[in-house]
């Protein structure tokens, strides 16, 4: 094999490798299409969710202990308001990395979420949100407004939030904040 022929083969191999990378890795990454199925690529919205992200304002306990502080975090993209609300609450109630401190008791999970035509979101949380709560008016206000603000500050379609616990309406979480009706966004509890 002459050196010229060897160089030609090497160049062709490189071009084929580049084309293969472009076809199977580069383009799907740029366009967010799934790598495995060309059929799925026809419906980009349905399968794009796992990898697309939005930036959301999430809320954690401020250093002064009596307010919340807003932090921008990447949250998975959700198709539609309800799905996006679930993603936001999922990210909000997940234990944060230090030094962030969450007002949501550890172990709390999202059971269900639905939004009325009026714009009231009903967030059904597991019983850990009451059982694991340490009480006190301030603590309870921060817990409640963490959830309320997480939805109302990020989703314009949500105007009010009512918390449910284990599928049921509750008067309060720990004896203080009235949860019998949807609460509107309240940024006076945010620094």
């Amino acid at each position: 094999m002459t050196p010229r022929r060897a160089a030609l083969i090497a160049a062709l191999t490189t071009v084929v490798a580049c084309l293969a990378w472009l076809l199977f890795i580069g383009l799907p990454r740029w366009y967010g299409a799934p790598a495995k199925s060309t059929a799925a690529a026809v419906k980009p919205g349905a399968s794009a969710a796992p990898v697309r992200k939005i930036t959301a304002h999430l809320f954690y306990v401020a250093d002064d202990g009596v307010r919340l502080v807003s932090t921008d975090r990447d949250v998975p993209f959700g198709e539609g308001t309800v799905q996006q609300a679930k993603e936001i609450i999922g990210a909000q109630i997940a234990p944060p990395a230090a030094p962030l401190l969450s007002a949501i008791p550890a172990g709390t999970t999202l059971r269900a979420l639905f939004i009325t035509a009026k714009g009231d979101a009903y967030v059904d949380l597991s019983h850990e949100i009451t059982g694991g709560h340490s009480g006190g008016t301030v603590n309870e206000l921060l817990t409640v407004y963490t959830i309320v603000n997480a939805l109302t500050a990020n989703l314009p379609a949500v105007s009010g939030v009512q918390l449910l616990v284990d599928g049921k309406e509750v008067d309060t979480l720990a004896g203080h904040v009235d949860l019998r009706r949807p609460l509107a966004r309240n940024l006076s509890w945010v620094q």
């Binding site: 002064d64 202990g65 009596v66 401190l101 340490s134 006190g136 008016t137 603590n139 009235d178 509107a184």
Partner: protein, 509 residues
């Protein structure tokens, strides 16, 4: 008159006679006392014999009253009721009740041809085997048969400043209504009869606000008013197993001079013995409701040192009650006076039903940051559209009246009752902040508004005070100590005075 009416009439007469008998009995010598058996169908006196300071009743009399078979055999007396037996022996202070031994205060006594047993035989031996409930009230010589409501009344009368206070405890709890009929108050208890001495209180020396308190009908107490009576205010509150009725009597105000009028002699001014607080015009605050947060199974916040919010709030609530009542003469209601769970609605209901003029809910705070300290004062917070909702909800509604026609009735939605008092609640919170400023540590945001469940239903100015953070170890120690509690009590006490003055100024505008 049908049979039911006749029965009701005869029962009423019978119970009336019972009250009369008790009235007479209280004046009769002990030897002629009777045990009054009170049942749905009337009353039946059972003679009591006193032997060695012990009261006895004849088994024959009990047998006739309760359909008992009494027979004496083999040195023992056997009492039988529907196949169940009680056996007593003459020399033993014991009874065998269906094979189970119970003690008696004395052995049976043979009197002529009759056997006498201690009256306790009824409650200890007969009651366990009898079909119907037997309630022996030994002190009042009363035996209640069946589920009659016969509350025991205990009364106390005391002077409070220039006025007076009558307190009547009804146990078991019985509600009552108080009405003024001329120079007499009538207190009607929701009961079948009353277990009370007659008169309920000894006559008061003249000139008095209250002259006499008597049991007048089966379930009615009358209060004869004296010349110094001007007005009264009644309230009820559950206290342990009793329902407490408190009637505050107000004496007439001393007339104040008009500006420019000739000086009156010194003797025409307020009596010198009256404490200063009562020499002033009647306060705009007559009743304060103090709510000790949490209680019972709901401990609230628990500090690392073991201090429980429910205990702290109760201690401070009691201290505040004592200070305000004794030094200001303002009546104070506690939403709980012991360690028990009370629903949030029940707490505000107590304040609303008793027409309290101020509501103070006491709590202790918690933060996830242990460094946080300081007291916080909350008033209620309503959503921005609440004003519109409240206006619509609070609009008077014409409702039909008994005599025909319509009358505007103002219906207040329970969870919006606080709305129209919000301005005064915020004013009181501000006064509290000012008075607490140099007495107790305040938080970084001392006053705030929030949608707090306990405040929203209060139909009077209302605040919730978080006294400090139990999650801060140093503050936990301070909160549990008398130094903080005294300073806090003083600050709230002075705030109540300032708020009273503030209301007076608002009213005079």
């Amino acid at each position: 008159m049908n049979a039911r009416s006749l029965s009701l009439f005869s029962a009423t007469i019978a119970v009336g006679v019972f009250v009369l008998t008790r009235s007479l009995a209280s004046q009769a010598p002990p030897s002629s006392q009777t045990l009054t058996l009170l049942a749905r169908d009337g009353r039946h006196p059972i003679p009591i014999s006193a032997v060695n300071d012990q009261e006895f009743v004849a088994l024959d009399d009990l047998g006739a009253a309760f359909q008992l078979a009494v027979r004496e055999e083999a040195g023992a007396i056997t009492v039988t009721y529907k196949g169940k037996t009680i056996v007593v022996t003459p020399d033993q202070a014991l009874a065998s009740v269906s094979g189970r031994l119970v003690s008696l205060p004395a052995p049976p006594v043979h009197a002529g041809r009759r056997w006498l047993v201690p009256v306790e035989f009824i409650s200890r031996a007969l009651a366990p085997i009898y079909d119907v409930r037997l309630d022996l009230r030994k002190a009042s010589h009363l035996l209640i048969v069946g589920d009659l409501r016969v509350p025991r009344l205990t009364a106390k009368y005391e002077a409070v400043g220039s006025g007076a206070r009558l307190t009547i405890d009804a146990a078991p709890r019985a509600t009552s209504t108080v009405q003024q009929e001329g120079e007499r108050l009538t207190i009607k208890f929701d009961a079948d009869a009353l277990d009370a001495p007659n008169p309920l209180l000894p006559p008061q020396p003249a000139p008095a606000i209250v002259q006499a308190v008597r049991v007048a009908e089966p379930s009615t107490v009358t209060v004869d008013l004296g010349p110094r009576f001007a007005a009264f205010r009644a309230s009820t509150q559950p206290v342990d197993a009793a329902m407490r009725l408190v009637i505050d009597f107000v004496a007439p105000q001393t007339t104040t001079e008009a500006p420019g009028a000739p000086s009156a002699p010194a003797t025409a001014t307020a009596p010198p013995e009256l404490p200063p607080a009562f020499a002033q015009p009647i306060s705009a605050i007559r009743t304060v409701a103090i709510d000790a947060g949490h209680g019972g199974d709901d401990e609230g916040v628990k500090g690392a040192g073991g201090t429980k919010e429910k205990d702290l709030t109760l201690t401070v609530a009691r201290q505040l009650k004592a200070a305000i009542e004794s030094r200001l003469g303002i009546r104070v209601l506690l939403t709980r006076d012991d360690d028990r769970a009370v629903g949030l609605d029940d707490r505000t209901a107590l304040a609303n039903n008793n027409k309290a003029d101020l509501f103070i809910s006491l709590h202790a705070n918690a933060s996830l940051r242990p460094s946080v300290t300081g007291a916080m004062i909350f008033s209620a917070g309503f959503p921005p559209d609440a004003e519109q909702q409240a206006r619509a909800a609070l609009a008077p509604e014409p409702l039909p009246t008994f005599g025909g026609g319509l009358r505007d009735i103002e219906l207040v939605p329970w969870d919006m009752a606080q709305f129209r008092h919000l301005e005064q609640s915020v004013a009181f919170a501000t006064i509290l902040e000012q008075q607490m400023h140099d007495k107790v540590p305040l938080g970084s945001r001392p006053t705030d508004q929030a949608p707090l469940r306990i405040l929203e239903s209060a139909n009077m100015p209302a605040v919730l005070i978080e006294m400090g953070f139990l999650t801060n170890p140093e503050q936990e120690k301070a909160l549990a100590g008398s130094g903080f509690q005294n300073a806090f009590t003083q600050a709230v006490f002075e705030s109540v005075i300032k708020f009273r003055d503030h209301l007076g100024m608002v009213a005079s505008r």
